[in-house]
């Protein structure tokens, strides 16, 4: 019995090239555009985004034995890309590192945790420039906050999926997302004010 189950286990771990090809075709390749977009929104650079996508697929090949077929391929691939971005890319850029990020999180923690910013995007102030202002606000967020906005509001991952992709508890997902949205809303409110509009605190 022991020998049998050991053999069986090895068979499921060692995929044939045909099987690997099928996993790529059926489960991995369909997420290439989403991965590219994620990479682009993280790096704001097309070449870096391409590098990240390629790197993600090469790593997916290398670690394919740890992927359980039929599970959440998209979340698995996003986790790989997020790790590559954090580990490699951040070292090469002037992105705020962990200490800067802790500082930001502390500033926001020191505020009332129940503080909720509100901004009514239907207001005329945003008119035609709304697109630019939102992407500017998103791009100016510290990377951990930008990351969670992308995963949630652009890709539609659940709190649980984001928790696995980022490697933080679900409670932290919820609070970080809340803060990220507050930051964007505050920036948009500041923009509205700078245009001379009176924005009431809701």
């Amino acid at each position: 019995m022991i020998v049998q189950s050991a053999t069986k286990e090895r068979n499921t771990l060692e995929l044939s090239p045909e099987m690997k090809n099928r996993v790529f075709e059926e489960e991995f390749y369909p997420h290439m555009d989403a991965l590219y977009n994620f990479g682009y929104r993280l790096t704001l650079n097309e070449d870096d985004a391409n590098d990240l996508v390629q790197d993600t697929y090469l790593k997916a090949f290398r670690f394919i034995e740890t992927y359980q077929r039929g599970t959440n391929a998209k979340a698995w691939l996003f986790r790989i890309m997020k790790n590559s971005f954090i580990n490699d890319f951040r070292k090469r850029t002037k992105e705020p590192d962990k200490t800067d990020y802790d500082e930001v999180e502390q500033i926001y923690n020191s505020e009332d945790a129940h503080y909720s910013a509100t901004v009514d995007l239907r207001s005329e102030v945003f008119g035609g420039k709304l697109g630019d202002e939102i992407t500017n606000a998103l791009n100016s967020l510290p990377v951990d906050f930008r990351l969670i906005m992308l995963l949630s509001d652009i890709e539609g991952f659940t709190y649980e999926e984001m928790s696995k992709i980022i490697g933080i508890p679900i409670g932290t997902v919820r609070s970080r997302l809340h803060r990220a949205r507050n930051m964007i809303k505050d920036k948009l409110t500041a923009y509205a004010r700078s245009q001379g509009y009176k924005v009431d605190e809701a």
Binding site: D33, T118, A202
Partner: protein, 83 residues
């Protein structure tokens, strides 16, 4: 804070959870019942819903170019052939 205000406070705080699809089935009817009948909460709900939709819409997906797609697929094919 009276009972109605207290309920509004709780409902407003839960708007993101509802919009993110993270509210429990048990809470949804209570939440919706309140929002449908409370003008102030409905307004806040509409603002948040709009915010989430606009953010998604304005960050329209950028697609990877065809050359990159074939380059990646070729590399994977080579790795597969190597076994």
């Amino acid at each position: 804070m009276n009972r109605k205000d207290n309920m509004c406070y709780k409902v407003v705080e839960k708007i993101p959870q509802y919009l993110d699809g993270e509210m429990s089935e048990f809470e949804i009817p209570i939440f919706l019942e309140h929002v449908e009948h409370c003008h102030k909460c409905l307004e806040k709900y509409e603002i948040e819903k709009n915010f989430k939709e606009v953010v998604k819409q304005k960050c329209e997906r950028k697609c990877v170019n065809d050359a990159m797609v074939s380059s990646i697929k070729n590399k994977i094919q080579m790795l597969l052939a190597r076994g």
